[in-house]
Symmetry: C2
Subunit: 150 residues, 2 copies
């Protein structure tokens, strides 16, 4: 197969040559694949990511969750309130530093992890890719993110 020239101004302006669009549309595709799996847990995809972070390490501040997920407090605060209303987490002001809010799993939120344990395999199957290949691509995209955020 011949290489496509992607250096001319005209070629540079084509949607199909945009790495950003590949990422953007793959992200939407992932969300759609997750939807039926997460409906079982009553979670949206971003809410699921928050739960994953808390399952890894409980009792975190809004700020540390935001650092981990690359999200602002203006995004997290309403999301966390919804998760709290659902009974999956608790939000409590830190005694020692009242500026911070400590986010913790509830019993229900902790238990949910078992129910969620089938999700990752479901996603891997949906890609139909080999775990090793998934891992490699993940590394490359994560590296790209790092470059973009410099």
């Amino acid at each position: 197969m011949a290489k496509t020239d992607t250096s001319s101004p005209e070629e540079l302006m084509k949607l199909d040559n945009f790495l950003c669009f590949a990422i953007y549309s793959a992200n939407h595709a992932f969300t759609r694949v997750y939807k039926p799996l997460l409906d079982e847990l009553d979670l949206t995809y971003p809410q699921y990511l928050v739960m994953v972070v808390l399952w890894e390490k409980d009792d975190q501040t809004v700020g540390s969750l935001g650092e981990r997920l690359f999200l602002e407090s203006s995004t997290l605060t309403p999301m966390l309130k919804r998760l709290e209303a659902m009974g999956y987490i608790s939000r409590v002001r830190d005694r020692a530093d009242e500026r911070q809010v400590r986010v913790c799993l509830t019993e229900t939120g902790l238990t949910l992890k078992e129910k969620a344990s089938a999700v990752p395999r479901g996603i891997i199957e949906a890609t139909g890719m080999e775990p090793a290949e998934i891992g490699r691509l993940k590394q490359e995209v994560a590296a790209l993110r790092t470059l973009l955020l410099r």
Copy 2:
């Protein structure tokens, strides 16, 4: 460097092993890099994508734009109304088939292409990656999207 085992249930549930999260966060990173460049054009990133599609091929229906961008009419309709209000496009019901809306570039919208011509290079520079590598990664991510949407 030793390979990381990513097959155990515990490892599968870690955020840093999620391809979807790499994609999700890289997408946000792209949006942030685009922001200052697109502010010059008074466009958001999704609006820019619509304009790119129209610059490639003018006079398209809402449906064809949606197919190209993987977006629903419920997303596009309000976006197109904003682009229309800005004077970049026009929306006219098709004479022959009144169900369809034909989206066309205005003079201003067409002219904007020149002003936008610097954007792709700016993004490529922001990644700091070689064009060939960008192209390869783009292909892989686009292939992933295709797999997910099967």
